[in-house]
Amino acid sequence: MSHEPQPTEAKVWTPADPVLQVRNLHKSYQDQHVLRGVEFDIHQGQVKAVLGPSGSGKSTMLRLMALLEPANDGEILLRGQRLGVRQRGTTTVPLPERELAKERRDIGMVFQKFNLFPHLSACRNVMLGLTSVQNIPAKEAEERAMAMLERVGLSHRAGHYPSELSGGQQQRVAIARALVMNPSVLLFDEPTSALDPELVGEVLDVMEGLANDGMTMIVVTHEVRFARRVADQVTLFDSGVIVEQASPDEFFDNPQHQRTRKFLSHVH
C-alpha cells in the first residue's frame, strides 16, 4: 500500500467526467483486509446497483465513500476533488473531523435500519440537517422539509414520530432527510433489507422516482428486479473487490465471470 504519484489530480474536471471516482480503495480492520483495491466511476445521473454476498465489504465501501471512516489507502474524488484528505507539504493527511463534516454534506446516506432520530417528528428529522448544518431559518427549513416529505408521499405524516411510522414510512422519511440536503450522490445501504416484504415496494418506488429525476445513486441491494429495471450499471462485489461491472442486461443475461454466474444462480 504505497503512495504513488496520482495522475488523476492533475487533470481538470469537466461535467463529462465521472462525478464520483473511487481509486484503489483499501480498508483493513485489525488483521482483516476488507476492501482490496476497489475501483469504479459513476457519472452524473447514473444509478449503480451493487450486489454481493454478506461480509464482502459493501457496507464498508459505502461508509468510506460517505467519509464516515478513513480509508487505509486509495482515493475518493468528487468532481475531480479528492475527499477526506488535505495536502501538507508532500504528504496527504486525513482531514480533521470538523472539515470532514463539511465534505459529508455533499454525499447523502440512507441506512439499512433507517436511523431516524426518535426524539424528533418526521418533519423535524428532515429539517435538522438544514437548520443545524446549513443554518437555514426554521420557517424555510420547514417548508423545504414538507416539500421533501411530499415527494416521498408522507406529508400527511409530518407530525408523527418515528415510533408511530411503519418501517417503509420510516425509510421514506430517511430518504427525504438525506435528499433535502441536496447531495451530489446518494448512497443506499440495503435500504429494504430490514423491511417486511409488503413494505419493500413503496420504498423502491420512491427510489425509482429519484432515479428518473436524475439523482446519482449507488444502491447496495439484494433486489435483483430493482437492479435490472432501474440501474444503469450493475456491480458484483466479492471479498473486497469488484468482480464484474456491466449494464443490467449484460450483467444478468451474459455475465463474463464465473463468480457472477455462481452468485446469480443463488439469487434467482
Binding site: L68, A101, R104, M109, P118, H119, L128, E142, G159
Partner: protein
C-alpha cells in the same frame, strides 16, 4: 408524655421549618446541577479516546465513591479555609460549602448514570448525524443528548431525592436545613415526637412534589404526536425541556 397535636401543628406552620425545608431543597438542586455538569465532563472523559482523560475521570469516580460525603463536607468547611485564605471570607457560607461538597461527591454517581445513558444510544444515531454533515458537538447536542437525557431521567430523579435527604449531613457544618431545624427545637423543648413528626411531614411533601415533577418531565420525553395534542405545528422545540 403524650403526643401533643398542638405542638406538632404549631411546628408544622413554623416559618423556621419552612425555611429549613427550603434550604434542604435548594442545596439539593444546586448540588444536582453541579453534579450533572461535573458528571457529564467525567462521563465524557471515561468514554474518550485519550488515556489521560480516561485516567483522570476514572480517578475522580474512584476517589469520590470511596470518601464519605460527611468527610468531604468537613474537609471543605474546616480544612480548606485553613489552606486557602480566600475561603475565610464572608461569602463562603455553610450553604455554599454544602452544595459544593454534596455536588462533587454526587458527580461521581451522576457520571456513571450519564455514561451508561450515552453508551446506550445506538451507534447508528451518531452515524446518521455525521452523515448529514453535523460536527461532533452538534451530533452530541442535537442527536445524542436528548435521547440520553430520557434514559438518565429516572435514575437522576432517585439521586435528587437522595440529595434532599443527604442535605441533612450539612448540619455538621451548621447549615440550618430541615433536620437541623427539628434537632435544634428538640434540644430546647425535648418534644422529640412532635418535632420529628413535623420533619417527616416536610420530607414527605418535598419528595411527593419531586415525584410529580419527575413524572411531568418524563412525559415530555415520550416522543409521540399524541403526547402533545395542543400544538398543531411540527415546530415544537428540539429536545424539549431540561437541558434548554
Amino acid at each position: 408524655m403524650e403526643f401533643d397535636i398542638g405542638i406538632f401543628v404549631q411546628q408544622l406552620v413554623n416559618p423556621s421549618y419552612l425555611y429549613g425545608a427550603f434550604l434542604s431543597v435548594a442545596v439539593a438542586v444546586l448540588a444536582l446541577v453541579l453534579a450533572t455538569a461535573v458528571g457529564f465532563a467525567v462521563a465524557l472523559g471515561r468514554t474518550s479516546q485519550s488515556r489521560i482523560a480516561q485516567g483522570a475521570a476514572g480517578f475522580y469516580t474512584w476517589f469520590f465513591r470511596a470518601i464519605p460525603a460527611l468527610l468531604v463536607l468537613l474537609i471543605i468547611w474546616n480544612a480548606l479555609p485553613q489552606l486557602f485564605p480566600v475561603l475565610r471570607q464572608e461569602w463562603f457560607s455553610p450553604f455554599i460549602a454544602a452544595f459544593i461538597g454534596l455536588g462533587i461527591v454526587e458527580a461521581a454517581f451522576m457520571a456513571e448514570i450519564i455514561r451508561s445513558a450515552l453508551l446506550s444510544i445506538d451507534e447508528g444515531q451518531n452515524l446518521a448525524g455525521r452523515a448529514l454533515g453535523m460536527s461532533p458537538a452538534k451530533v452530541m447536542v442535537k442527536v445524542v443528548l436528548p435521547q440520553a437525557i430520557r434514559i438518565a431521567l429516572p435514575p437522576t430523579g432517585n439521586e435528587f431525592i437522595g440529595l434532599v435527604k443527604f442535605s441533612s449531613l450539612a448540619s455538621v457544618i451548621s447549615l440550618q436545613e430541615l433536620l437541623t431545624t427539628a434537632q435544634v427545637g428538640v434540644n430546647i423543648t425535648f418534644r422529640y415526637a412532635e418535632y420529628y413528626a413535623a420533619a417527616i411531614i416536610y420530607y414527605l411533601i418535598i419528595v411527593s412534589l419531586l415525584t410529580l415533577l419527575q413524572n411531568y418531565v418524563e412525559k415530555k420525553f415520550l416522543w409521540t404526536s399524541r403526547s402533545k395534542p395542543k400544538k398543531p405545528s411540527t415546530l415544537e422545540p428540539i429536545g424539549q425541556g431540561v437541558h434548554a
